[in-house]
Symmetry: C2
Subunit: 515 residues, 2 copies
């Protein structure tokens, strides 16, 4: 009896103690947590800044695209250093303002610099939701909604490729999607690779065009194949892979005793916007039993346009496709799918590691929804969701209109370039890349010899510098395959209007008059 009473008393004592502060290692562990209200307030304040300084300015061409500062200057303007003590909310809000002020406005109607641009309100709202929920898409248990959404989006993308079924996964970038495909292909032909690695396997070689994205080389290097085992196939004047040259290279490799296994065709090259002839390439791949990957990271979005999907004629014959809705379809960096025709579970067999702490086999639901083991990542973002939201909001017809509108603006700009003195197209664009030279007055009458090209090569960099320092617009330039520096104008955003096209040419002309 005594013992029992003592136990009871101890118990009561313990309970009353618990109501007081519990101190362990000098830390008070009792609730409630003090700073949630001020944290919420801070998020609200930042949201206001974002609405005013970013979202509401996205259609305002009178704002600056960028407020150029050299790295050295910017370092003195921003308080970058991380210190022992924290900063006050007013100071942090000022920092947020500064970060926005000195960042490039990729949502600006006159940002034409990359293969993405503009703002999509639906995708943006979806991204705010996923940031707040902070999911990781590996198991249904943790990400029920986002796994089902990914499934729905992949299914629809597969439908637009024209396959009857398939599989896929969203990845952090088209470069990573290309790697996945390359690794998947070699696994299919040599399943032992997963355990044994490349030793004992004949020298793998792969093929892509001279105009391919640089990630194909990076992938070959990363996967242990080596860049010299990437065979670059000649492309024609428009930047399209020449199928006969591909077949020659495949034969050549076979004669050398190498093992051709993979062709990466490009649907929408990075610089010229060229589309490889997929149907002819597919014939060769079938004949030689090669995996046909199509890097449609940039061009894939044309599949949604009945008018323009012919650019990708034959894509249904691909074994895998990389397609980034964050480019033309504005899903936000990053939103990149690798899609594979196989529906036998090749992706899972190739990538699974069956981690028992994550992919338990005795779960109470259908674990085929735990698709995270298809990935080389462990935690993975819910990238499909933002695209799903835009698709939901606009419908396929709305997405189609965006593609059509961008390519109609291209037609307009091309016609203007042809009309204007001092502008010269490199080639007639098929897609949203418009490559052209601006020839300043001083060079217009010069013979197109060595001196002309040398002088012309300095023009684009200077105009680029001037437009950035002025903040009026941004577009890219590069030398390319023997052609000296030319501008590459990319049109994507639905915020772009015809007036922006006129402005672009006027502005180049005005910035380059004295050159």
């Amino acid at each position: 009896m005594e013992e029992e009473e003592e136990a009871k008393m101890n118990n009561q004592q313990e309970k009353s103690q618990k109501k007081n502060a519990i101190l362990v290692d000098g830390v008070i562990l009792n609730g409630p947590v003090a700073d949630s209200k001020s944290g919420e307030k801070f998020v609200e304040e930042v949201n206001k800044i974002i609405m005013e300084e970013v979202v509401k300015k996205a259609s305002d061409a009178t704002e600056k695209v960028c407020e150029w500062q050299s790295p050295e200057q910017l370092r003195t303007l921003l308080d970058l250093e991380l210190k022992d003590t924290g900063e006050s909310h007013p100071k942090l809000l000022q920092l947020c303002q500064d970060v926005i002020q000195f960042s490039v406005k990729t949502y600006h109607p006159r940002f034409f610099n990359q293969l993405y641009a503009g703002i999509d309100y639906y995708s943006l709202a979806a991204r705010f939701i996923t940031e707040a929920l902070n999911p990781s898409v590996y198991t249904y248990e943790i990400s029920p909604v986002f796994l089902l959404v990914e499934e729905a989006v992949l299914k629809k993308m597969i439908e637009y490729i024209g396959w009857e079924g398939g599989d896929g996964i969203f990845n952090p970038g088209g470069s990573v999607s290309n790697m996945y495909a390359m690794n998947l292909a070699r696994y299919k032909y040599f399943p032992d690779i997963k355990e044994k690695g490349l030793s004992g396997i004949p020298q793998l070689v792969l093929f892509t065009s001279e105009e391919c994205h640089y990630s194909v080389k990076k992938a070959a290097s990363f996967l242990g194949i080596g860049t010299q085992n990437v065979y670059f196939v000649k492309s024609d004047d428009r930047g399209k892979m020449i199928p006969e040259e591909l077949e020659k290279q495949v034969q050549h490799a076979r004669n050398e005793g190498s093992a051709p296994f993979f062709v990466s065709a490009t649907a929408g090259t990075t610089v010229l916007g060229a589309f490889d002839p997929l149907n002819e390439i597919a014939d060769i791949c079938e004949k030689h039993n090669l995996w046909l990957h199509v890097d449609a990271s940039w061009g894939g979005s044309a599949l949604l346009s009945r008018r323009h999907r012919k650019l990708l004629h034959g894509i249904h014959r691909a074994t895998s496709v990389a397609w980034n809705p964050h480019k033309m379809l504005m899903a936000g960096i990053q939103c990149c799918a690798l899609l594979v025709k196989d529906s036998s579970g090749l992706l899972k067999r190739c990538y699974s590691a069956n981690a028992s702490y994550l992919f338990q086999q005795d779960k109470f639901y259908d674990i085929s929804y735990d698709t995270g083991d298809k990935s080389i990542q462990c935690s993975r973002r819910a990238d499909a969701f933002k695209f799903w939201m835009t698709w939901k909001a606009l419908g396929t017809t709305g997405l189609e209109k965006r593609v059509n509108r961008a390519l109609a603006l291209v037609r307009y700009l091309v016609d203007e370039i042809k009309k204007r003195e001092g502008f010269q197209l490199l080639l007639e664009p098929e897609y949203a890349n418009i490559c052209f030279w601006y020839i300043p007055p001083s060079l217009r009458k010069m013979e197109k010899g060595h001196e002309f090209w040398e002088k012309l090569s300095c023009v684009a960099p200077i105009i680029k510098e001037r437009m950035m320092k002025k903040g009026s617009m941004m577009l890219g330039y590069q030398p390319h395959r023997g052609k000296v520096n030319f501008f590459r104008q990319v049109i994507i955003s639905p915020q772009v209007i015809r007036e922006d096209m006129d402005f672009l040419l006027d502005e180049i002309d005005s910035l380059g008059q004295d050159l």
Copy 2:
């Protein structure tokens, strides 16, 4: 004169035409764009929902952690299908509500299921900013602020590792960081690999503990090394790699004629939270000229705590370190750095592809800031920024307090587990993973033979199912190295209070009483 006047007239005519609708391919190209106002409104509405349904509920333990639905049910509850026509704003707002409702609340104080949890208001605000600005971090031209921020954060992380200098890059996940390190190591010893691939190189082998993260195997497979060339070193009862066993394995591999090149030690293993003895492992790596990578994805954050950084004693001797601030430091999925001791540019030499359209050599600023070519990715998210914002807000001392508080809560929970009948620790935790069995009343008097363990193995899955269907909390379980299913409780979030610890044990006891 006549010609001039005609030109003038044409010009005027053209200008006035331009004011009218310009129609190309059936698309009106003139501005202004119609839907920006309603788009802005939509973003504002969604922001309100996020504040009410997510942010303001993050400290409210009375809300459900999840609202469980089976995949089949959830599919009928959500309108997932993508259609030809878009949906109205009210419908979309309802969808946003549904998505939030049926998603797991990883910010909830009783979400203990993964190696991340909780909400950080500063990181969240920063993530909203980057989503709105939508940058891609490859060149200074496009991401001036975010490149400088990444530099500042890497520098500070390197300081806490204890190196005098170094290099680094943020990646989409610790798995990817581990891959980077492995590839970098082989490139250092065999620089020809980049061009020539693995052929002609002796069989590479690498070492890691039995308790390592599964990504080490995935990396070996992806990089063409093969999983059978990963040698798993025995670990002790606490899950720490045994240095003598490592040395034996290295010798064994050398005797076999293989080429040992890489050791991946783990600082904070995934299941047990164990820390390998880095100093002793570093001795062996130095002796045998091996690259020492430390996968501190989970444990790295202890470096910020003066009390707990001894867990990583010797980390300054590592050649590379993976460290994910998105775990214990709550930077949001994903925020993962690979840090390397080398400051001679190895990272750049290993990964660069010098794409001329992106990394032009004739830019008007110091192109050493164009660090994107260090990455296997092309477009890359500004992941450093969210961590920078939290660090700015809290200071190092604030981050330290978080780590200390989480580990103090661990001490509290461990003491409670020891006091309570029916709970049994697997081992004394060093870090934030608390592994324990719940032994229901029916098993408490049973002899610990085969039948006992078999019955016990079914307990955790049933309790997990019950907690999820009730929505009261979430924690993980798994079998592990001969031990039947046990719970793994992970404590991270500063929103967690002592009362949540008590609740956790009470709840398990109540859910498992009848088992």
